[in-house]
């Protein structure tokens, strides 16, 4: 049997990569390879539809404001139908920072313009007067307690959840979706959106494994027991992030 492989569709890697999104991709690939599995990477460039044969995992990162506007228009014009079909059919989505905002219904800019989003997450975002910046710690129910996620946030958008999405986690330290309701990120089925970067996955390996497990299940139609890895460095970085946030409280 050939090596089980996750097909990753990385959307706009050239335009949307401001917060070291390539770190998230490196972790997805690295954690598969450490288990003898593999990642097949397909770039989603402007103007292109979904790759033939489909994808098990879709990733969209954050970009500079102007790039993000260009990408939003292209996303709706060339990729929205494929993305709805993929994510509706059980593929995994990870949308980070600007990508998270674009996964929602719409984004209202500071100038009052409305940018239409994909609508794969039931969220809406409005630009705020200032940026919400700093270390952030969450607890998430995607995993038994403490289900902790650590990272860094830096966003002007204030995001609110609709009834069709639940929060990725509750904010222990930091601002989260909007700085008011203590929620952070959004989850619907296997689509996850979040403001956490730093990047997100290196210091939160359990989330990487959860997404990879779902993606393998999507591809092969059965559940995969991913063997635990020796995560000494990951745990040290994670604990250091928690300690840093505690010191600042």
């Amino acid at each position: 049997m050939s090596t089980p492989t996750v097909r990753l569709w990385h959307l706009y890697p050239r335009e949307m990569n401001i917060y070291a999104d390539r770190g998230n991709i490196a972790v997805l690939r690295g954690r598969l390879r450490r288990r003898g599995l593999d990642l097949e990477l397909r770039e989603g460039r402007p103007g292109e539809p979904a790759p033939g044969g489909g994808a098990d995992l879709v990733y969209l990162g954050g970009g500079q404001d102007r790039d993000q506007l260009n990408v939003a228009a292209d996303l709706i014009a060339t990729k929205a139908t494929d993305l709805h079909a993929l994510l509706g059919g059980g593929a995994v989505g990870l949308f980070v920072c600007g990508g998270y905002q674009l996964a929602g219904h719409r984004y209202r800019t500071a100038a009052g313009a409305t940018v239409e989003g994909l609508g794969v997450l039931d969220i809406e975002t409005t630009a705020g007067a200032d940026r919400l910046i700093g270390d952030i710690v969450l607890t998430s129910d995607l995993r038994p307690a403490p289900g902790r996620l650590v990272g860094y946030e830096n966003h002007a958008g204030r995001t609110t959840l609709g009834g069709g999405a639940k929060a990725l986690g509750r904010v222990v330290e930091g601002h989260g979706n909007n700085g008011r309701d203590r929620t952070e990120g959004a989850v619907a089925n296997r689509t996850v959106g979040t403001y956490l970067h730093g990047p997100l996955l290196p210091k939160n390996p359990w989330l990487a494994d959860l997404l990879l497990g779902w993606a393998l299940e999507h591809r092969y139609g059965r559940s995969f027991d991913l063997e635990p890895l020796e995560d000494r460095l990951e745990q040290a970085a994670h604990s250091a992030a928690v300690a840093r946030a505690n010191r600042r409280r």
Binding site: A20, R22, Q64, P199, K203, A240
Partner: protein, 484 residues
């Protein structure tokens, strides 16, 4: 008002002296900060004493080195140069430098009246030219307060990620500055033709363009950490015939036809040789078709080829003769933390500041030309001056180092993030050591470097300060604020 100004200057100067005496940092900007607070017109008033005008040098990378190079050219031409200290590049740092100049001139004047002869290093007349490295975000404010004779804009790269959006915002602010009347008809704008964000912002001003024209250096593909990759006019993707540093190079837009303008001053031939040597053939010094200038610099790497070319273009615009330019460039040594060399426990320590992806990539490119195996000490801090968000290390191309490595020690506030970066980048964790304390890290890195060997340190900005403080404590180097 005159008395208030004098009093404010005295208070400001003693604040700086006190800061140095109590050992609380260099105190290089403090007098300027105090003076600007007490007397908001101080920068304009003190700067008015510069008969030769002020030159501002701004960039994400290279402003300190370029300011040193330009100052050296001007001094070789016998001019009286006032410069701010490395890194003291906000309005406060410029004011502090001008205040120090005024006070030292007054002191030498008094000494001369007492018959003790001419002061050391003093030159005649009330000429004096200011050469100031200026923070990208502070340029408009400073140019508004003191109109420059020349402004040198070298590059804009993605820097600290906390300052998100600044790349676009600073490009816009610089364009506004170029259009504003802060720059007059007497101002020369020295621009990098190879940076698409800057090449065309001079419009109707008096512009000198510089660039690199040697097809043998650089590559054809943009690195991962490329920033300005879209056309400033139509938004279409840019193509490149040559990529030098980051997104710099020979660029063009196939959509609207905008392209890199032909530089006036260009490095036609670039010979790179290690961390301390490069040679350039500079065309355009004597008009089109005129004789080339050959220069040798004690600096390494393609990024320094840009710094040297920018300094030469500016010096030429300020009418410095070619011989003085050659002499000035040749005499410059590495600035604070830029390939600086320190002896420690029988090893040679080289300090290579790496504060953003493009800078780190250039350092790595230089290291790849050094003899292997390489011994590395990488130090990542996340304080305000470094940027609180260390994500940028994932945009650095460390991977080509792996098969040339002898030893790697990782340290700093975010040493574990470096460990993840290196391990997910493909370096087996058995091949690096992580040390949370900097003194431990230095001990371990030195121990891993064979006696007589070279240890290359790649610190972020505050990590460089910490490392220097530790080296001073060990008697290996002098305090950095003794440098000018």
């Amino acid at each position: 008002m005159r008395c208030v100004g004098r009093l404010a200057e005295m208070i400001a100067a003693s604040a700086g002296a006190l800061s140095r005496a109590t050992g609380r940092g260099g105190g290089t900007s403090l007098p300027g900060m105090v003076l600007n607070r007490l007397d908001p017109g101080a920068l304009r008033r003190l700067g008015g004493g510069l008969g030769g005008g002020a030159v501002y040098i701004s960039a994400t990378n290279g402003k300190t080195t370029t300011a040193r190079l330009l100052s050296a050219c001007l001094r070789a031409d016998g001019r009286d140069v006032t410069a701010n200290a490395a890194g003291a590049n906000l309005a406060s740092g410029v004011t502090a430098a001008l205040l120090a100049r005024k006070r030292s001139r007054r002191a030498t004047g008094r000494a001369r009246r007492r018959g003790r002869g001419r002061g050391h290093g003093e030159t005649t007349g009330c000429g004096g030219i200011g050469v100031f490295e200026v923070d990208e975000a502070a340029l408009s404010e400073i140019a508004g307060a003191l109109q420059p004779r020349a402004v040198v804009l070298m590059n804009l790269f993605r820097d600290q990620l906390d300052r998100y959006g600044e790349l676009e915002a600073i490009t816009e602010r610089w364009s506004d500055l170029a259009r504003s009347h802060s720059l007059g008809p007497a101002t020369t704008l020295v621009l990098n033709a190879d940076d698409p964000a800057l090449a065309h912002i001079g419009a109707d001003l008096n512009v000198v363009l510089f660039g690199i024209d040697d097809p043998a250096v650089g590559r054809r593909e943009l690195p991962h950490a490329a920033d300005t990759v879209r056309c400033g006019s139509c938004g279409g993707p840019l193509s490149h015939d040559l990529v030098t540093v980051g997104h710099l190079g020979h660029w063009r837009c196939d959509g609207c036809g905008l392209r890199r303008p032909e530089p006036h001053i260009s490095a036609r031939r670039v010979r790179l040789d290690g961390l301390d040597h490069l040679e350039l053939t500079i065309a355009g010094m004597n008009g089109p078709g005129g004789a080339d200038l050959e220069v040798v610099a004690g600096l390494g790497g393609l990024h320094n080829a840009y710094n040297v070319t920018a300094a030469i273009a500016t010096a030429a615009a300020l009418d410095v003769p070619a011989e003085a330019i050659g002499e000035g460039i040749a005499g410059v040594q590495a600035a604070f933390g830029r390939a600086e060399q320190v002896s420690l426990d029988g090893r040679t320590l080289r300090l290579l500041l790496a504060k953003n992806p493009t800078g780190a990539n250039e350092n790595i490119r230089c290291l790849l030309a050094e003899p292997a195996p390489l011994n590395l000490l990488v130090v990542l801090n996340d304080r305000t001056a470094d940027g609180r968000d260390p994500s940028w290390i994932w945009d650095v191309d460390y991977e080509p180092l792996w098969d040339r490595i002898g030893s790697v020690t990782l340290a700093g506030d975010r040493c574990w993030e470096l460990a993840l970066r290196f391990s997910y980048g493909g370096l087996d964790p058995a091949r690096f050591q992580v040390r949370e304390s900097l003194p431990d890290a230095l001990d371990s890195a030195v121990a891993a470097t064979p006696p007589g060997g070279v240890l290359y340190a790649l610190p972020t900005y505050t990590a460089l300060l910490d490392l220097r403080a530790e080296l001073v404590r060990r008697g290996a180097t002098h305090d950095f604020w003794q440098e000018t």
